[in-house]
């Protein structure tokens, strides 16, 4: 397994942007300052390398969001080389390799169902639909690991404003792109594809629910759900569906891929909750990538102030 020969260089082998820019910054510093100053500055840059990458990305000057956490961000390398994206393989290092050639242009997202005006949005239209913000969210996987990601996008509710959901719309259903030609690994995913997910309408309209078009100051890398995905920071990661092509406002609870696969283990709600264990493992703790020991998991992943009111009176053990 570990001994197999690697193929020729791929995009995955390209020096991560942050390191590249960090190196450039370092060289610049060499030019401006004396060698003595360089050592200290180089170390400082190493401590906060992504600031440089942000300035050079596609979205350099983004509005900050009050929803952002001040916790230390995961590295770009961690977020791009540890992915659950079964369409591109079930191992976490596979999407980084297998998604490189995924074609994301042209791309349209069809918004349909119980709405006043059904619409198809091109990627360009989506990018101009509302001011883009940077949202630094905690992201907790159902498997027990977590990351902190500076996503880019706007609240999903902005879409609703345009299409105007009718009185029958009680839920929102999402669907990912799926094409065996581009995603041959999908055959071995062990889950039904295309990937589908869903939210209750009030969950979808909560300002935290993000229509996400980028991260780390730039477009979404393919393995992270390019070109557009949903991010729901208080739910387990699998609810944050990647590479979406369809948003449907519907009257009944929509099917969700992992819920179909194993309804006992993955509920419709799948809110992060340290008190409700997965049938096979504890959810009380999580490992932040890069750390050795686990840390306690927070109720609603620490977003209870924003979302707890959505679930007042509900038995969270029953509606897991």
């Amino acid at each position: 397994m570990m001994l197999q020969r690697k193929p020729d260089l791929t995009h995955a082998d390209v020096t991560p942007k942050e390191i590249y820019f960090n190196r450039r910054k370092f060289l610049q510093a060499m030019g401006f300052a004396g060698a003595a100053a360089v050592a200290g500055k180089g170390l400082l840059d190493l401590a906060s390398p992504r600031l440089d990458a942000r300035a050079a990305g596609k979205f350099p000057n983004l509005a900050k969001s009050p929803f952002s956490t001040t916790e230390k961000e995961s590295t770009f390398d961690e977020v791009t080389h540890y992915n659950n994206f079964y369409e591109f393989g079930v191992d976490k290092d596979q999407p980084a390799k297998n998604a490189q050639k995924f074609r994301t242009t042209p791309w349209t997202v069809s918004v349909e169902g119980e709405v006043k005006t059904k619409r198809k949005f091109s990627m360009d239209e989506i990018l101009k639909l509302a001011p883009l913000e940077e949202r630094i969210y905690r992201h907790r996987c159902v498997e027990g690991w977590s990351i902190v990601v500076p996503w880019i996008g706007f609240s999903l509710s902005e879409i609703a404003k345009l299409v105007e959901p009718g009185p029958k719309a009680k839920y929102v259903a999402f669907e990912s792109y799926y094409d065996l030609g581009q995603m041959p690994e999908g055959k071995y995913a062990g889950i039904q594809l295309p990937y589908v997910e869903g939210l209750r309408l009030d969950e979808a309209m909560n300002p935290l629910t993000l229509l996400c078009v980028g991260m780390y100051g730039d477009s979404l890398p393919n393995q992270d759900g390019a070109p557009v995905r949903i991010v729901i920071p208080w739910k387990y990661g699998f609810k944050s569906i990647k590479s979406i092509v369809k948003i449907r406002f519907v009257s009944g609870e929509p099917p969700c891929t992992w819920n179909i696969t194993n309804p006992r283990e993955y509920g419709f709600y799948s809110n992060v909750n340290p008190n409700v264990d997965h049938p096979r493992w504890s959810q009380a703790k999580e490992r932040r990538l890069g750390e050795i020991f686990k840390r306690p998991t927070l109720l609603f992943n620490g977003y209870q102030d924003q979302v707890a009111s959505l679930y007042t009176g509900m038995d969270l053990k029953k509606y897991y």
Binding site: M2, H81, Y82, L289, K294
Partner: protein, 214 residues
């Protein structure tokens, strides 16, 4: 070939070969090739190699008989002990990073989570086998009893495979692959046992010296 296998020096390259996975893990840890989650990397690598060495160990007896290479048995103890070696590493990655070396908490987890229960059982069952793997212990227990005891490896392998199967979310192909190999190896033993029994004890007249089943 047989003389090569019987050569006393052949154990050394086999020993070194068995250390290669550990060497690769060590190298990965020194050069940052563990991926974004080093703990998961070690847990999976040590778990995979425990299962692989269990399977390789279980292959020895069938191969020895099918290929008529009795000398293969010389490597069985070493391979089994390497399975135990990787199982120990696997256990430490669980007790340390996952349980923060909290032994009481670990036992709670073992009792609560079926997949941990089976993994722990697979590991614990290997301990007496490792301890009694010496020639001295074979003598002390007597060949027959020693052999009975060491059949625990079958249970350990079955527990290990189910442990793996219960761990994955949907990618069941790899655990099923190991399950299939273990099943073939155990069914072969069953068939072998029936064949030998029918040979040594002809059906009608029961002989008083019933055969020893190896």
């Amino acid at each position: 070939m047989p003389t090569f296998l019987a050569n006393k020096w052949t154990k050394i390259p086999v020993f070194l070969l068995c250390l290669v996975p550990f060497g690769v893990m060590f190298w990965a840890s020194r050069t940052g090739h563990m991926g974004p989650d080093p703990v998961a990397f070690f847990q999976h690598a040590t778990g995979d190699w425990t299962l692989r060495f269990l399977v390789i160990t279980l292959c020895i007896t069938p191969l020895r008989k099918l290929l008529k290479l009795p000398d293969l048995v010389r490597f069985r103890r070493m391979l089994g002990l390497f399975a135990f070696f990787y199982a120990c590493l696997h256990f430490v990655t669980y007790l340390g990073p996952d349980q923060s070396f909290d032994v009481a908490g670990m036992f709670k987890d073992v009792a609560k989570r079926p997949f941990i229960t089976l993994g722990f059982a697979a590991f614990v069952l290997m301990i007496p086998l490792a301890l009694t793997s010496t020639a001295g212990w074979i003598r002390r227990l007597g060949g027959r009893r020693w052999q009975m005891l060491h059949r625990l490896i079958y249970v350990s392998a079955i527990c290990g495979v189910i442990h793996y199967y219960w761990l994955v979310k949907s990618a069941i192909l790899r655990p099923l692959f190991y399950a299939a190999i273990v099943a073939v190896l155990l069914v072969w033993r069953l068939v072998d046992w029936f064949i030998r029994r029918s040979k040594t004890a002809p059906a009608p007249a029961k002989t008083q010296n019933a055969s020893a089943n190896g």
